[in-house]
Point group: C2
Chain length 500, copies 2
């Protein structure tokens, strides 16, 4: 078969092949070397903080305080991965020792551990120019795993992306590591994205963004000669359920807490609470009034860029125009400077909600839809009609929790659809830690088996490799008899730090 090789395909092949060449040595780097790299990058980001925040401020319209916080989060997660590497047990080393006298057949020596997959393609996200972009969680976790990374810069903040990349390049160079373990592609458009996904040397893909872009990449990966995994974080409405006793006893406080989460960062978070469920209880009207009041007092703020505002308005109009939807608060910013948005709120009955998929689609921006059920049974039916989510939250009092018979089905449904189940806290504000799961069933992500935030994000870039009957000196350090890394290993089924 003859294919026309376009310029874009050629570029994609060139950068991914360079990454493949860098992988030949980088896969053998020690945890100490990779830890030092992540620490060094974090230090240089810190040293360049003011410059980077200024560039990002111009491109993203996010506030200086927010960007400073995000940069701290970015350096924090780089350092957390360095800690993970130094502790070392994350490689899930497992050893089954030889049983030469076993009958009817002897058992040979079998050992396995997680090893890096190869060159990783990372797409920068529009809403987190630092923490989910060039040196965000995807890149940090892939470098930690020993995988070279090719960054496809987000067109919304190309200068920020390049400036951050330059900082990382300096760190790589100062430590004498292969320069091509990190490369930066600033070309824009769908075609170069698809060509990068389909380049032969690409081993896996990390993406945070829209449902449409994410599923386009998933299909491109599925149609490769050798399909690869795309770890895409795409779309979530983050349902919140408010239990009756709380709704009746603390309607205002609960509404204010949720309204603040809806408005936070002009609603530009993947974990924005876009659907709020409750039964038609005595506290409902007070809750609704307090919610309207809280959102009304939020001044219009700049969104990331014009297209984001336009999408907010368009998607909002689709929801507000559905049968049975009451608009409680309409964004009044149409015709402004094309950047400022203000919050919106609407209400619908669970009955109307259940069979209308248009109401289940994410509206990226400061909007939430109150879904009011006749009774507990209809509430459950409405929750059962939801797709996969990043988060699902439950708000209630101690008294609400005593009704185990009512509570358990709710908990089961929320656990079944979401990567993170939250009690009495808002879903925005994703902690970067070991136990975090920022993931969930489709369409929240492309694979519910992984998290894109926290140290377990590293698991996306590795695969288990088994070594059978290999001489000790040829084994990776993690699997050598003497356990030179001092890590926890599973030996004949039991976890221990012992040597053999």
């Amino acid at each position: 078969m003859q294919h026309d090789i376009t310029e874009s395909m050629q570029l994609a092949a060139t950068v991914m092949n360079r990454a493949q060449t860098a992988f030949l040595s980088f896969q053998h780097s020690t945890a100490q070397q990779r830890g030092a790299l992540l620490e060094k990058i974090a230090d240089l980001l810190e040293a360049n903080r003011q410059t980077l925040v200024t560039i990002a401020r111009q491109e993203s319209h996010l506030s200086e305080a927010r960007l400073n916080g995000e940069l701290s989060r970015t350096t924090g997660q780089l350092k957390l991965f360095a800690q993970l590497l130094l502790e070392g047990s994350w490689v899930q080393a497992s050893i089954d020792t030889a049983l030469p006298d076993r009958t009817p057949l002897p058992r040979t020596d079998i050992r396995k551990m997680l090893r890096p997959k190869g060159p990783i393609l990372v797409f920068g996200a529009s809403n987190f120019p630092f923490a989910f972009s060039t040196l965000g969680g995807d890149t940090a976790s892939a470098l930690a795993a020993g995988c070279p990374v090719v960054i496809k810069a987000h067109p919304g903040h190309p200068n920020t992306s390049k400036a951050v990349f330059d900082v990382a390049s300096e760190a790589i160079s100062s430590l004498g590591l292969p320069p091509d373990i990190l490369q930066h592609v600033s070309e824009t458009g769908t075609q170069i994205s698809i060509d990068l996904v389909q380049a032969k040397a690409t081993a896996a893909v990390g993406f945070t963004g829209s449902f449409q872009a994410g599923t386009t990449l998933m299909q491109a990966a599925a149609h490769r000669t050798a399909p690869i995994e795309v770890f895409a974080e795409m779309s979530s409405t983050n349902p919140v359920v408010i239990l009756s006793d709380l709704l009746n006893t603390a309607p205002e406080g609960t509404a204010q807490k949720l309204a603040a989460s809806v408005a936070l960062g002009v609603g530009q978070f993947c974990t924005n609470p876009g659907l709020i469920f409750m039964t038609k209880d005595a506290g409902l009207e007070a809750f609704q009034q307090a919610f309207i009041g809280a959102l009304s007092s939020v001044p219009p703020s700049e969104m990331l860029h014009e297209a984001v505002l336009e999408n907010y308005h368009n998607n909002l109009q689709i929801v507000l125009s559905q049968a049975g939807v009451d608009t409680l608060l309409a964004s009044t910013d149409a015709g402004s400077d094309g950047l400022h948005a203000s919050p919106s709120l609407a209400r619908v009955t669970a009955d109307s909600f259940i069979h209308n998929s248009a109401l289940k689609t994410e509206v990226f921006g400061p909007f939430s839809l109150l879904v009011v059920a006749r009774d507990q049974q209809e509430l459950i039916e409405a929750l059962r009609s939801l797709d996969g989510q990043l988060t699902a939250s439950l708000f209630g009092t101690d008294r609400d929790l005593t009704d185990q018979q009512g509570l358990n089905p709710l908990l089961d449904i929320l656990t079944g659809i979401a990567g993170r189940v939250i009690f009495n806290e808002v879903p925005t504000g994703v902690e970067v830690c070991h136990a975090m799961v920022h993931g969930g069933p489709f369409p929240a992500t492309s694979s519910s088996s992984y998290s894109s935030v926290g140290t377990s994000a590293i698991l996306r870039w590795v695969r288990p490799v088994c070594y059978q009957n290999l001489p000790d000196n040829l084994l990776p350090d993690a699997l050598k008899n003497s356990n030179p890394l001092g890590i926890f290993r599973q030996i004949n089924g039991n976890w221990t730090k012992n040597q053999l």
Copy 2:
């Protein structure tokens, strides 16, 4: 949109929805309950051994000794999963405790663990009527995870599948578990397979079989409204590399060892060594003669069924007819009873091999292709041209191993393409243990991140779920403060069995 619901779609929806209903309670079963179930199934299989082996013997044409061995392997792996459940640490529990005084923001309590995904669809494999079919590794690992299983019986051994299923049903019933945690679909054909993959309630799929069938299922899953993972083990030629000193000092013994592996079970193993690489050294002719001699002495044996023999002959002819291929030993069984096959052997230069993809395709049956390179550099080039593999083996003497400069690139290539790297042992005979990896990059499997053999096979059926700020009494036992299961947990980054 209006769709015509066919009978096949209706059947698929019915069984998968039943499995979903069973999941509502089965997901809350304890590790003890599931361990007892696996033990009970193993005991009943043992009690029915003679009957089951007799049925399988009639349908599969495998020898009684082989089927008895396979049944023991099947009961062994059920019991191994029971052990894994009782030890319990496999759920990867992780707890980050609250830091209320942290600045600038407090940290809340965050915990996560692996939880079952939901109903799993398992396809029986033709070549392992017990160990990779109805109650094989896929089913054992999915039930261990807490997932209901729907078995699509392999049409090659429908009675065996049903008899094994009946044994399992008896175990489920005797323990009072929901009957629909295991269902059996005996309808045949591609359409019902696709409809089962595409049924809404199906959470993931396990498959062992041909490349064509595996990729058909992968595409069906990718084109669902909500795509799911297909864990397909499909196609591998299991390259073997013989180093020079061994080839020159022990050509006959090495040839005999490999010939036995090629002929074992009439070559009907996923790990059959189908490609054997070496440089053109002094020992080559002796190796080749010994290989021909060993294979010639193997009597024709029955393959699984007529279609398998027919495919063996057809695929063999494709390889033998390629330019530069010398037939060293031709299967002489054409025109026999349509079941008996005898081994074949061929030879090709690495130069001819490198650019001919027809030579890299699996020939399922007792066949191997010797690939002879001019020198080490061409050998490496030939290995680099290989796709993903289940196994890659290296044979050598101590003296071969002293040449680290020659050895390391070889080890890197083999590690890069295979799930299991073997030294001085044949790839057939897959040990069921904790450290086994039966997996590898595409087309060996659909996802290199997992193994379908050994206890880590359970990881395919689970996803991490995070609980934020949940009261202790609402948490699963694995995450409760008191660590009632006594398992290893990651607490603030450190693995420990301590309670909080």
